[in-house]
Amino acid sequence: MSGPLILGVESSCDETGVAFVRGNELLGDVVASSVDEHARFGGVVPEVASRAHLEALVPTIRRACEETGHKLADVDAIAVTSGPGLAGALMVGVSAAKALSWALDKPLYGVNHLAAHVCADVLDHGPLPEPTVALLVSGGHTNLLLVRDIASDVVELGSTIDDAAGEAFDKVARVLELPYPGGPHIERAAADGDPQAIRFPRGLTARKDLEKHRFDYSFSGLKTAVVRWVQERQVAGEPVPVADVAASFNEAVVDVLTAKAIDACRTHGINDLQIGGGVTANSRLRALAEERCAAAGISLRVPRVRLCTDNGAMVAALGSQLVQRGLPPSSLDLPADSSMPVSEVKAS
């Protein structure tokens, strides 16, 4: 084993993650989630998430140490998500990381959550092919990125102009009376349905939209279309075919996600696509991405599901890249930046 030993801390949404990475190797990864506490609210409640982060903080760091047999004093650097994300949630992780950096006299790297998602895959499949196109899909983000250098050159090609894809799953689940979080429940319901049963709209794919929003996404119209379709059945006193609605909605989402990602690869002459973020747990997304990448001669990389959801491992992985490339650490007065742009891989 070689390379710097990095401790990664993540707290941008509802998962408190702490992990140790050496070089490109994951040594241990502990995640405490407050997802159950948000269920009755139908979405992440920032104050609930922030309180849960603070409670989980020390136990999660402790467990990561126990699992890896490493002491905090062993680390060469600390990496923390400094944005984007929920401000109050970010501040818990950022405060902890600064305390560690100062107490242990080790450099601090404030890193971008989205770049960290892209970087997670180095832990599964080794160094990223660069350049690569990356598609990030989660409850809070939906972005298409052009990654020329994961440590220093990440450009946003497009993003959602309204809801994140995962948010659309949550909202449609509520309409179908399925539990939160919507993604896994919709996928389960969709297993018995016909994805071609209902032709739901594909956001921003009309010719006029492609001029301005070629690589952007929109899921708000799709959600409204599903709600309307369901309510029309209800008003007419007809049964709602939940499986068909779920399957058709799921298909509409993954169709547009993958189509635009492939288009981005072709447009930029890039033959590598990286996918990450919590929605990557969706098996239809993985299957359709594989199928379309194979047809287009693009090699696809997707890390295991555990590395796609929020975790400290991806933060440590990106921190490791920054350290290995000799980039200077962030300042101790680094802010939690809830709207950190993806072009800023590392906070100054």
Partner: protein, 224 residues
């Protein structure tokens, strides 16, 4: 012994280092909304001035509020993480007690109130009594109320904290102690520990539930 005292429960970020006899260094920065940015650099600065290193600490005392949640958590997260990294105990102190300590140190001998900004037109408050050797919170756990709804006899007491500055019509004469200063917090914590009294767990005194409504039914999108 070397105690690090910090508080982020008011608009100030305040840090002090106490060696058991006296405060070796102290700094207070009044910069609401930037707590997460400036706390650790402020600790670093106070320690450098005191000529001490992180490994020299033997304990940490932190204000656990009540106070605006986001800023409050910055102090608590920092304290518990430092405690873990340096393997030293961390103690919680009610932030109003720290303000009361500085009121007592200014020579106050009668009962007084501490009322701080709880936002939403409310204050966090508690009643204190000065003794020869210490200050005592005599009203139990701090309350959170609209100033005008506090009993008349409480509002007539001298009041420290920002409450009387924000709500001058509801309170009597404001005392000069507005925000927490960490030197007072350190002296309060050491006094309590020396007297064998327990400090608080290092958990925020939120006193309010998170603001959130359970998911409601989907509204109709159909034209009526």
């Amino acid at each position: 012994m070397l105690l690090l005292a910090i508080d982020t429960a008011t608009s100030a970020v305040t840090v002090a280092v106490h060696d058991g006899d006296r405060v070796l260094g102290e700094h207070t920065e009044v910069e609401a909304r930037r707590h997460a940015e400036i706390l650790t650099p402020t600790i670093e600065r106070v320690m450098d001035q005191a000529g001490r290193r992180p490994a020299d600490f033997t304990a940490i005392a932190v204000g656990v509020g009540p106070g605006p949640f986001t800023g409050l958590r910055v102090g608590v997260a920092t304290a518990v993480t430092l405690g873990l990294a340096l393997d030293v105990p961390a103690y919680g102190v009610c932030s109003l007690d720290a303000i009361a300590q500085s009121v007592r140190e200014s020579g106050m001998t009668q009962d007084f109130l501490v009322a701080t900004d709880a936002r939403r037109k409310e204050v966090y408050w508690a009643r204190y009594r000065s003794h020869a050797d210490r200050v005592e919170r005599v009203s139990g756990l701090p309350g959170v109320d609209r100033p005008a709804e506090l009993p008349e006899d409480l509002r007539a007491l001298p009041v420290a904290g920002r409450g009387p500055l924000l709500y001058p019509d509801s309170f009597g004469q404001p005392l000069e102690q507005g925000d927490v200063d960490a030197g007072s917090l350190a002296r309060f914590a050491l006094g309590e520990l020396a007297a064998g009294r327990e400090l608080l767990p290092v958990q925020p005194l939120y006193l309010r539930q998170p603001d959130a409504q359970p998911a409601s039914a989907q509204k109709s999108v159909l034209a009526r």
